[in-house]
């Protein structure tokens, strides 16, 4: 039997599992998650899938996992009791935070409470200045007294974050040694061991989040590893990081702050690989599920990475100008815009007679009216059903039965109170959901100065294909790709990702005041560390890995940095000159101006090493599934003009290389694609459904402008 890789992605409602053979054979399974012990659903789903695919556990050579365990542990407050040690005078940095509110005018909003209560935040006399000079030596006797208090409290997790430690970690390092000796049972972490970057609140928060999550994630990783072992699956086990790279599970356990956005990242990474296969580096990724839709951008084949994110801020949905809902984490994270628009979003009428869709969602319980699980308020899925877009009998290959009559009644009630025809209201719900998703797609394109028309749209998630054509028309996008197993695509994306290790060291210095030797002195140990980690994961040869050296840079006085690739190591004067001009170029690209006269500030140096994924070039061969009935047609509604049109309903396998014109409905096991009139759909050799407007989209644009 050929070797197989196993991808497992846990979501709030479903656990998605994918098996990918070395020859491209692809098998997928959706199963309800088991939040009390996620590994239960994993075991059940994996066993079923192995049986179905006739694959034995020994044939699995790699496991990649995406999980929301870290985020959930913070939202549910299931982390460790942490003690925090700070510089004297700065005990409250963690609780003072940044005074940002994500919800103006809402006097009931409260930030989540700090992860370390005040009595467990200890101060010790010590002080380093901004240039790394010691202003006041570390008071070791005071530190010993603090250690004794921590021991008396029985605390197992200790975080140390001293002011300006990014500029000189000597006191933090000394403190860690003393604490480890005094508290042999505890895990002790210093802010500069992790990702030593400037800004004390964000660095403290990152260190504390990491310490808080460690026992939970370590326990989770160990339990899951054990369960897989018991099933006979002994392959190396990696977890997706927020940055889109995989990391060995044990390292993720020790550095859980790295995997906070693990879940959403995998789908985007999968789309990036898809783009490589398609020969298209500019993609808008839209992932529409039951509760939310997420948009992200791939530009010139690269992911868009933000230097930090926030975790645990459930309140933040919508305006990306506002921050402060959660705990900041200084970890590179794929930029993803999320809006409350999914299949479960509820349609309602406000006090002024206005028509709204979302942000409330019927979720999995009670679910849309048509699920017939006691839901009474019409949702986007109910509207899509009325419009003829969804199979009126069942979804998920027949596993989820639908009650179309109930959906019809619920929408008719809403329509009566609006004085409109039910079908117009259903179409309105569909369009308003699109308008909300458009905001997310614009947030990652036009709001970044990018023209969406230059991108292809990749629609994933169970509902992505239902809405894709309408969204593309609104944005002027002329090409859509719906990959195979679109509804399980995050799980597949896990199998297409590289392993990634990152080492960072702060170097906060104006570029003009730096000599190359200083940079080399910082980079040498970082490079050695990354090479060691890659070798440990089996990526030894130069062909198997790619190492990148980045400098976080900004103009003096700015807040945010840009990561600029350093050409050539060891660094010379010429390299530093090149860095300065490359920063100007990047700044111009990101912000549309450059100021060559202004001094450039170096903030940190980073080494990113990637162990390249083996399966990146595999042509996928999804297993075919039988559909309900051949030669089926059903009527679907496409707005006032052209109204109802009869649509052929086909399986993905029935599409060929020749484009078939819309209107057309393509039904898959895990998703549905609605091909609107004016679009053509064909299937490429890799099983992707490729949709194009007319020949190349020009027809549509011409129509629009007349």
């Amino acid at each position: 039997m050929a070797p197989f890789k196993l991808g497992v992605d846990i979501g709030g409602t479903f656990t998605d599992i994918v098996l990918l053979g070395a020859d491209g054979a692809l098998f997928g399974k959706k199963i309800l998650s088991t939040p009390d012990d996620y590994s239960l659903a994993i075991e059940e789903g994996v066993l079923e899938l192995l049986t179905k695919a006739s694959v034995s556990p020994e044939d699995i050579v790699a496991i990649a996992h995406g999980t929301t365990i870290a985020t959930n542990a913070i939202i549910e407050r299931r982390g460790a009791t942490v003690a925090l040690i700070t510089t004297r005078g700065f005990r409250d940095v963690l609780e003072l935070a940044r005074f940002r509110t994500p919800k103006l005018y809402d006097m009931n909003f409260r930030r989540p409470d700090p992860l370390v209560e005040r009595r467990l935040r200890f101060e010790v006399p010590e002080r380093i200045d901004a240039h790394g000079g010691v202003v006041e030596p570390l008071d070791e006797a005071a530190l010993a007294a603090v250690a004794a208090q921590i021991r008396d409290e029985g605390i197992q997790a200790v975080a140390v974050c001293f002011l300006n430690a990014y500029a000189n970690p000597v006191h933090e390092e000394r403190a860690v040694r003393i604490l480890k000796e005094a508290l042999p049972e505890a895990s002790v972490s210093a802010s500069t061991q992790f990702l030593p970057q400037i800004q004390e609140y964000e660095r403290t928060s990152t260190t504390v989040v990491n310490a808080y999550l460690r026992p939970v994630v370590e326990g989770y990783v160990a339990a899951l590893g054990k369960r897989l072992h018991a099933m006979g699956i002994t392959a190396p086990f990696n977890i997706m990081q927020s940055s889109g790279g995989l990391v060995p599970a044990t390292l993720a356990g020790a550095n859980p702050a790295l995997i906070i956005e693990s879940g959403p990242a995998a789908g985007v990474v999968g789309c990036r690989r898809l783009g490589e296969q398609l020969g298209s580096g500019d993609l808008i990724v839209l992932d529409m599920g039951g509760t939310t839709a997420k948009a992200s951008i791939i530009r010139d084949g690269e992911l868009t990475i933000m230097p930090q994110s926030e975790v645990g801020g459930a309140a933040l949905m919508g305006n990306r100008l506002l921050q402060g809902a959660g705990y900041p984490v200084q970890v590179p994270t794929i930029d993803i815009a999320e809006v409350c628009s999914g299949g479960g979003s509820i349609a309602w009428i406000d006090a002024g007679g206005g028509f709204q869709v979302g942000p409330q969602s019927a979720g999995a319980a009670p679910g849309p009216v048509c699920y017939d699980h006691s839901g009474t308020r019409p949702t986007v899925t109910d509207a899509n059903l009325i419009l003829g877009y969804l199979n009126p009998k069942a979804l998920v290959g027949g596993e989820l039965g639908l009650n179309a009559g109930k959906a019809r009644e619920a929408i008719a009630d809403l329509a009566a109170s609006l004085g409109q025809a039910p079908v117009d209201v259903a179409y309105g719900i569909h369009q308003i959901a699109n308008a909300t998703m458009n905001r997310a797609m614009k947030a990652v394109t036009s709001e970044q100065g990018l023209d969406p028309q230059a991108f292809a749209l990749v629609a994933i998630g169970g509902n992505g294909g239902v809405h894709a054509c309408g969204l593309a028309e609104d944005l002027g996008v002329a090409r859509i790709v719906v990959p195979p197993t679109a509804g399980l695509f995050s799980a597949l994306g896990l199998l297409l990702a590289d392993v990634e290790h990152q080492a960072v060291s702060a170097l906060y210095r104006p570029l003009d005041a730096i000599v190359p030797d200083e940079v080399n002195g910082v980079l040498t140990p970082l490079l050695a560390e990354v090479e060691r980690l890659l070798a440990a994961d089996g990526f030894a040869g130069a062909d198997a890995r790619r190492i990148e050296v980045l400098a976080d840079t900004k103009y003096v006085g700015q807040t945010w940095t840009l990561a600029i690739a350093l050409e050539g190591v060891p660094v010379t004067d010429a390299t530093l000159d090149a860095l300065k001009s490359a920063f100007g170029d990047a700044h111009e690209r990101a912000y549309h101006y450059r100021s060559d006269a202004e001094p450039v500030q170096l903030v940190a140096l980073k080494v990113v090493g990637r162990g390249l994924a083996q399966s990146r070039d595999v042509a996928l061969k999804p297993g075919e599934r039988a559909r309900a009935g051949p030669n089926e047609t059903r009527d679907a509604f496409f707005g006032e003009d052209p109204g109802w049109l009869p649509c052929a309903v086909v399986g993905r396998g029935e599409l060929g290389a020749e484009a078939r014109p819309g209107p057309l409905i393509v039904e898959d096991y895990d998703s549905t694609i609605v091909v609107r009139p004016g679009w053509g759909a064909r299937r490429d050799g890799a099983g992707n459904v490729d949709l194009a407007w007319g020949e190349d989209g020009q027809a549509w644009r011409a129509e629009r402008t007349t």
């Binding site: 005078g89 005018y105 909300t436 458009n438 614009k442 970044q448 549309h592």
Partner: protein, 590 residues
């Protein structure tokens, strides 16, 4: 024409999307910290007659600002407005706000040539010239000292930049690179918005757009009326004070009479102190904006921001009073008074809606500037705001320590960034125990920030308040502690500083700013003893404060709660007078 609520919602989304995109374009292309970090700007869309239809994320002081400055422009130019024109206005006496806020508007014409809309942007510019850098001085006595006044004019005319105006601005501001750069960002964002607006005509008929814009305003008005009607009818009055006007020491009274009748509300500031010499006077429109913001907190949160929201709310401030000064009163530092307008309206709402509103948020609207020269004679300028320190106690829970204010959104600045970029060492930044207003639900703690000057010398400018009139409590809750500023607190002879001043510091001088706590809610002797005990354990209360303010006994050594002693203390009742000394102070100082 038949209207569909679905189409209206789609058009609203499109218009708000255009406004949001303007905001993002500004963030992406502007240069200054004020814009990038403090988000001190707003975007809006008005119809062809100047009625606001949609607003992007709106900072509270911009809530009612978009229309009056455009009205000032329309008064000046009438129909003499053409495609490609951009109108500019920063004149507080022509509808703008203060000189640093430059308002710009670009008209949108339909394919048929009808003026159907204006896209507009308010942006705070770093410097407009005048006597003091940044224009935030409290002690100006005429607007002429505050910088360049641009009465309604065209900064672009039929697509061409007005070079004369640009030259005048360039030669009158201290940091022309920054100011002109930000103005270019402002102009570029307007032009992008105009193109996006034009794209709507590909999808909608121009008359349809016009009709739905009017509809959107009516819809907001209906939502607002429904929301006001849900409030009880009544008439309430409330006063709050500022320590002084920045020139003299006389306290300034803010008085609000708030009336709800059916679906309409009136906020009348008659009875407020007369306008003063200093630069803290807000003009009427700033007063109105801050009033709308405070009122918004008790109305439906989802009401779209447009002219419909303000229609049912009438704001009255007699000409010549502190909140509606007459020409040529200066207004540069009116931001501070905006906080007091918000607090006095919130206080009135608390009387109208007992059991619904929290006590006053803490803070002294603390704004500090250190400016001078480094050893190599290169200039430095450090400016930061600590307007609010935390939240007031609420009817059902404590005010969150360091809780973010819902009527302001200015972040604190990282200590490490300050030290890396300015010759300052921050010696302490933390909570001040015992400073939250006592209450059944207590107010948030006050905050201390202590600065040591490392440069040879520097000019220090402080604008703060609440040294005499601390943040008020409600329903028997105490006020937060007052603010206090000290020079060289560790020396033998620390100097107590006033709330507003300019002076020179030398190397090694230390400024200690103790900022007030928030007001408490309800009788502190009814506060859950366990909650008091926890505050002691957390080091947020001293043992003494627990005993005196709350009647709760905690053993000073073991930090254990002493239940019997607590019961005895609480049975005996308080021997001190009422904790809220605000009204006494008002009597004393008036």
């Amino acid at each position: 024409m038949e209207r569909s609520p679905i189409k209206r919602e789609l058009l609203r989304n499109a218009l708000e999307g255009i406004a949001d995109n303007m905001m993002v374009t500004v963030i992406r292309t502007s240069r200054s910290m004020v814009v990038k970090s403090n988000l001190d700007f707003s975007a809006g869309i008005c119809d062809g007659a100047g009625v606001m239809v949609a607003q992007g994320l709106a900072l509270p002081p911009h809530l009612g600002a978009m229309m009056p400055a455009l009205a000032g422009c329309l008064d000046e130019f009438g129909d003499d407005i053409h495609p490609g024109d951009i109108l500019a206005n920063n004149d507080p006496y022509s509808g703008a706000s203060h000189l640093n806020d430059v308002f710009m508007y670009l008209p949108v014409f339909t394919p048929g040539g009808e003026r159907i809309a204006f896209v507009g942007l308010i942006l705070h510019h770093t410097d407009m010239g005048g006597r003091v850098p940044g224009g935030n001085a409290t002690d100006s006595s005429e607007i002429f000292q505050e910088g360049l006044r641009i009465a309604p004019t065209k900064i672009h005319e039929r697509g061409e930049p007005n070079r004369t105006l640009f030259r005048i601005i360039e030669s009158n501001v201290r940091v022309p690179g920054l100011v002109i750069g930000d103005m270019r960002a402002q102009i570029a964002a307007l032009q992008v918005a105009e193109r996006e607006f034009q794209a709507l005509f590909e999808r909608y008929d121009a008359n349809e757009v016009k009709a739905y814009m009017a509809d959107l305003v009516d819809h907001s008005e209906r939502l607002t009326r429904a929301s006001v009607a849900a409030l009880p009818d009544g008439e309430v009055e409330f006063s709050d004070w500022m320590d002084g006007d920045g020139v003299g020491d006389d306290p300034v009274e803010f008085h609000a009479k708030l009336t709800v009748r059916g679906d309409e509300m009136t906020v009348d500031f008659t009875g407020t102190s007369p306008q003063t010499t200093g630069a803290l006077n807000p003009n009427f429109w700033f007063t109105a904006s801050c009033t709308y913001a405070a009122v918004r907190t008790v109305l439906d949160a989802d009401i779209p921001n447009n002219a419909g929201f303000t229609r049912p709310i009438t704001v009255i401030a007699p000409e010549g009073c502190f909140l509606n000064p007459v020409f040529p009163a200066p207004l540069g530092a009116r931001g501070q008074s905006g906080y007091r307008v918000r607090s006095v309206v919130l206080g009135a709402l608390a009387k109208l809606l007992p059991g619904r509103m929290p006590a006053c948020p803490g803070g002294s609207e603390f704004a500090v500037v250190f400016a001078g020269y480094e050893a190599d004679r290169s200039p430095f300028l450090f400016l930061e705001f600590h307007n609010i320190t935390g939240l007031g106690g609420a009817p059902d829970r404590d005010g969150q320590d360091a809780g973010p204010y819902w009527l302001g959104n200015i972040a604190n600045v990282s200590v490490e960034l300050i030290e890396a970029e300015s010759p300052l060492l921050i010696e302490e930044y933390g909570f001040l125990p015992d400073t939250g207003g006592a209450g059944r639900f207590r107010g948030a703690l006050g905050i201390v920030r202590q600065y040591r000057l490392l440069a040879e010398k520097a000019t220090l400018q402080l604008r703060s308040d609440r040294q005499f009139f601390p943040p008020w409590g409600l329903e028997g809750g105490g006020s937060g502690s007052p603010g206090r500023c000290l020079l060289n607190p560790a020396s033998n002879d620390p100097e107590v500083l006033p709330s507003k001043f300019i002076r020179t510091l030398k190397r090694g001088d230390v400024l200690r700013g103790e900022m007030p706590g928030s007001g408490g809610y309800g009788d502190p002797f009814t506060r859950d003893a366990e909650a008091v005990h926890d505050d002691v354990r957390q080091g947020k209360f001293s043992v003494r404060h627990a005993r005196e303010a709350y009647g709760v006994a905690v053993d000073a050594r073991t930090l254990k709660l002493e239940a019997r002693a607590t019961a005895a203390l609480r049975a005996k009742g308080r021997n001190a007078g009422p904790r809220d000394t605000r009204s006494q102070m008002a009597k004393r100082t008036r």
